[in-house]
């Protein structure tokens, strides 16, 4: 926010009339003239939709209906509030949700009751100052210009800005996002030299996780939790590490403990559902998926995979009617979303298959396959793998293999996805066949890529471009090939001069890669090179 407190547009949300009046009097006495109030989530959402507020003061505990965090998430999702809005959550007591790293969408600050005017004014003034100082960083992050955001962090740190450690923490998140693990490690180490700070130590654990050192990562997350049992970020990553180590029972336990402390994270509940399903703990899985659906109704976490997961649970519990009912709900919840329709149809097919209604099962699967074709390979790997599992169950082994082959080709350097696919084959008792398929598919892409590089080296740049263009068309999700084509186009233009069509093509390739993986290492380098060629810089 860029206006002084007195000119700010303020919304107060509290279910208690007395508190609303008191808070309104406080801000009016500060010289604020534009103040609205709301007594529940619905009213609040209406006000937020109609007016752009600079400051929202929201009680966390609003009685029945949405709580303050859910209002915040819905307002963010619907874009009623932006990065410049200051959101202050008022609570009577501290909860695990307030601890840093617990929620993905966080208010700017928490204010514990009792509140008096002096305290509120002092806090609001400080938040305005902080917003102002972080404005540049937040704007860059929103534009997904991570290198610029990092540069801004460095500037602030050099200028000895307020709250240096907060800036370091933001910077470390950015470094992890763009995959600069080396700089991130140096940052964590330097913070940890002074004391064991939970965010820095958790960050260090994440680095080990990314390096595939799951056992070491697990130890670190356990240490963080021994020191700070409420640091939910670490407990989520501990569960991830355990899962990667194959200890899904233990992962389930960690997640169960975590949702007891902090039950309102859709991502955590969904992971619990998936993990419990893997372990055959159907009751736990059901409860977790149901909770996920309930709390993500208005959030960006609303996900058709959760409905499909819940349907599978019901189907395994021999309640096919319940399963089909959930899938009907999914259809109405995700109208006009072909990827969701595909997932729902595949799940439906499995439910019918289990109760022996093979005609309906076939029809649903045919529908899913048609939707899959329409999406022309642009579905994400998780969705495709789920689809393949369904195809295997229906005895359509060839189609399943074809689909998985495509997933590998789109992600030929991603070891995690290869091992997940291997696990799918193993659960179908097709381990050896799976291994061969994975290796073969990878090699195919490597060959195309090598051929392209060879052509380029020989100076046949145009021919190389034609080859890679065709490869990108077939493998629209393959980062490596997309970036190689982009690099080739940049090379071509720096040799033969700028070409508008090629600049546009390269830009689209870069956008595509950033959608696929914001941590792509070459993105920044190529984006800069392209900007120079295009004359933007």
């Amino acid at each position: 926010m860029t206006v002084p407190l007195q000119q700010a547009n303020i919304l107060i949300i509290d279910d208690f009339q007395g508190m609303r009046t008191m808070l309104r009097e406080f801000v009016k006495s500060m010289g604020v003239t534009k103040v609205d109030t709301a007594g529940n989530g619905k009213d609040a959402m209406n006000q937020l939709r109609m007016t752009k507020y600079d400051i929202v003061i929201c009680d966390y505990n609003l009685g029945p209906g949405q709580n303050g965090q859910q209002i915040l998430e819905e307002a963010k999702l619907r874009k009623y509030i932006g990065v410049s809005t200051i959101w202050v959550m008022v609570t009577a007591e501290k909860t695990p949700e307030m601890v840093m790293g617990a929620a993905e969408i966080k208010p700017d600050d928490y204010l514990l009751k009792p509140i008096n005017q002096g305290l509120l004014e002092s806090r609001l003034e400080k938040l305005i100052a902080r917003k102002l100082s972080l404005n540049g960083i937040e704007t860059a992050i929103k534009a997904r210009n991570y290198p610029a955001a990092i540069a801004q962090c460095d500037q602030q740190l050099e200028a000895q800005a307020l709250h240096p450690q907060e800036i370091l923490r933001i910077k470390s998140d950015l470094l992890l996002t763009i995959g600069d693990y080396e700089t991130a490690k140096a940052l964590f180490d330097s913070v940890l030299a002074a004391r064991s700070v939970p965010w820095a130590k958790t960050g260090l654990g994440k680095l080990h996780f990314h390096a595939g050192e799951y056992a070491r990562a697990k130890e670190i997350f356990q240490e963080v939790l021994a020191e700070n049992s409420m640091y939910m970020d670490s407990s989520d990553w501990l569960a991830k590490s355990l899962d990667a180590l194959g200890d899904t029972e233990q992962a389930q336990q960690v997640l169960l403990d975590a949702v007891k402390l902090s039950p309102n994270s859709p991502t955590r509940q969904k992971t619990l559902g998936e993990t419990a399903y893997k372990n055959g703990a159907l009751d736990v899985a059901q409860a977790a998926f149901e909770k996920t659906i309930k709390i993500s109704e208005f959030s960006s976490h609303k996900n058709p995979a959760v409905y499909a997961g819940l349907a599978k649970v019901f189907s395994d519990k021999d309640s096919p009617e319940e399963a089909l009912k959930i899938l009907e709900q999914s259809k109405s919840a995700f109208k006009g979303n072909p990827e969701a329709a595909m997932q729902t149809a595949a799940a439906e097919s499995l439910v019918y298959h289990k109760i022996g209604q093979s005609e309906k099962a076939e029809a649903a699967m045919a529908n899913a396959e048609r939707l899959m074709d329409e999406l022309s390979g642009k579905v994400n790997a998780d969705v495709a793998m789920e689809m393949a599992k369904s195809l295997f169950k229906l005895g359509k082994k060839d189609k399943a293999c074809g689909l998985l082959r495509n997933v590998i080709k789109n992600n030929h350097e991603n070891a995690g996805i290869s091992s997940q696919i291997q696990a799918v084959f193993e659960s179908e008792q097709l381990g050896a066949e799976g291994l061969a398929l994975v290796n073969e598919s990878r090699q195919e892409v490597v060959n195309i890529n090598n051929q392209g590089v060879m052509l380029a080296k020989e100076g046949n740049l145009l021919e190389a471009a034609t080859l890679l263009r065709k490869a990108v068309e077939n493998l629209p999700n393959n980062e490596v090939i997309i970036m190689n084509l982009c690099g080739l186009l940049i090379g071509l233009m720096s040799k033969e001069g700028k070409n508008e069509a090629m600049v546009l093509e390269a830009k689209q390739l870069l956008d595509r890669v950033q959608d696929l993986n914001p941590a792509n290492k070459k993105h920044h380098e190529y984006a800069n090179a392209l900007a120079r060629i295009a004359g933007d810089k």
């Binding site: 508190m19 007591e93 501290k94 909860t95 601890v99 009751k113 009792p114 509140i115 700070v197 700070n228």
Partner: protein, 230 residues
């Protein structure tokens, strides 16, 4: 709802939530009344109101301490140690006690560098300071000094007053840990000391642990409440 569905923690938390709302409104209305009294020159009413507000503030801080201690006991307190500006934490603790200090004509000085940052659980340390200020309010003649500095790997925070100081018995028995029974004469339950020393010891860094002590002396020669956090 079945009996076992109701969590005792939730019940306590929501009851305290409710009580704090009431207290918050009470204090804010009382403060408004006190200002009106002062404006029309009614010093004695304004002074009485000041005392009532002080008691309401104490009640509130007791509620917070009880709920926190309950949660420490059950290991469900969301401890959140992060770097904070110490002068800001002090400023906010003072703002919460501002009106009662004004009524009693107590002047407060703060001695803390602007760029003093330390890793603490902000809410718990604010709780310690408010408790110490409530004590100092009770014992002081008219001056309180809040000082904070970093010394050999510890943050040392002191709340000093210019009263008569702590009685010898309290100092000798290490009042902080021994003061367990309820003293009906002074109204002290030992809750504040117990809470503060628990919070101090929950702050750890490597092999070091926070601690709490009381002494007489300091800048004004009165009682000193000292907390050291690693």
């Amino acid at each position: 709802m079945a009996q076992e569905d109701i969590s005792f923690t939730d019940l306590i938390a929501s009851a305290i939530h409710d009580m704090k709302n009431s207290l918050n409104l009470q204090v804010s209305s009382l403060e408004k009344m006190a200002v009106q009294c002062r404006q029309r020159g009614d010093a004695s009413a304004s002074e009485s109101l000041g005392l009532i507000i002080y008691q309401a503030n104490r009640m509130n801080s007791n509620l917070i301490q009880l709920l926190s201690l309950y949660k420490f006991g059950k290991s469900i307190y969301p401890m959140d140690v992060a770097e904070h500006s110490v002068s800001e934490v002090i400023e906010e603790a003072l703002l919460q006690n501002q009106s009662v200090m004004d009524f009693k004509g107590i002047s407060i000085t703060v001695d803390c560098a602007e760029n003093c940052y330390w890793s603490i659980d902000r809410d718990l340390v604010t709780g310690i300071l408010i408790n110490a200020l409530n004590n100092a309010y009770h014992y002081t003649s008219d001056k309180i000094r809040v000082a904070a500095k970093i010394d050999k790997g510890f943050l040392e925070m002191r709340v000093e007053d210019n009263g008569k100081g702590y009685p010898q018995s309290l100092l000798l028995n290490d009042g902080v840990s021994a003061n367990k029974g309820v003293n009906f004469a002074s109204g002290s339950t030992g809750l504040g000391f117990y809470f503060s020393s628990r919070v101090a010891s929950m702050h750890k860094n490597g092999n070091n642990q926070g601690s709490l002590s009381i002494e007489n002396g300091g800048a004004y020669g009165g009682g000193c409440f000292v907390v050291r956090l690693p």
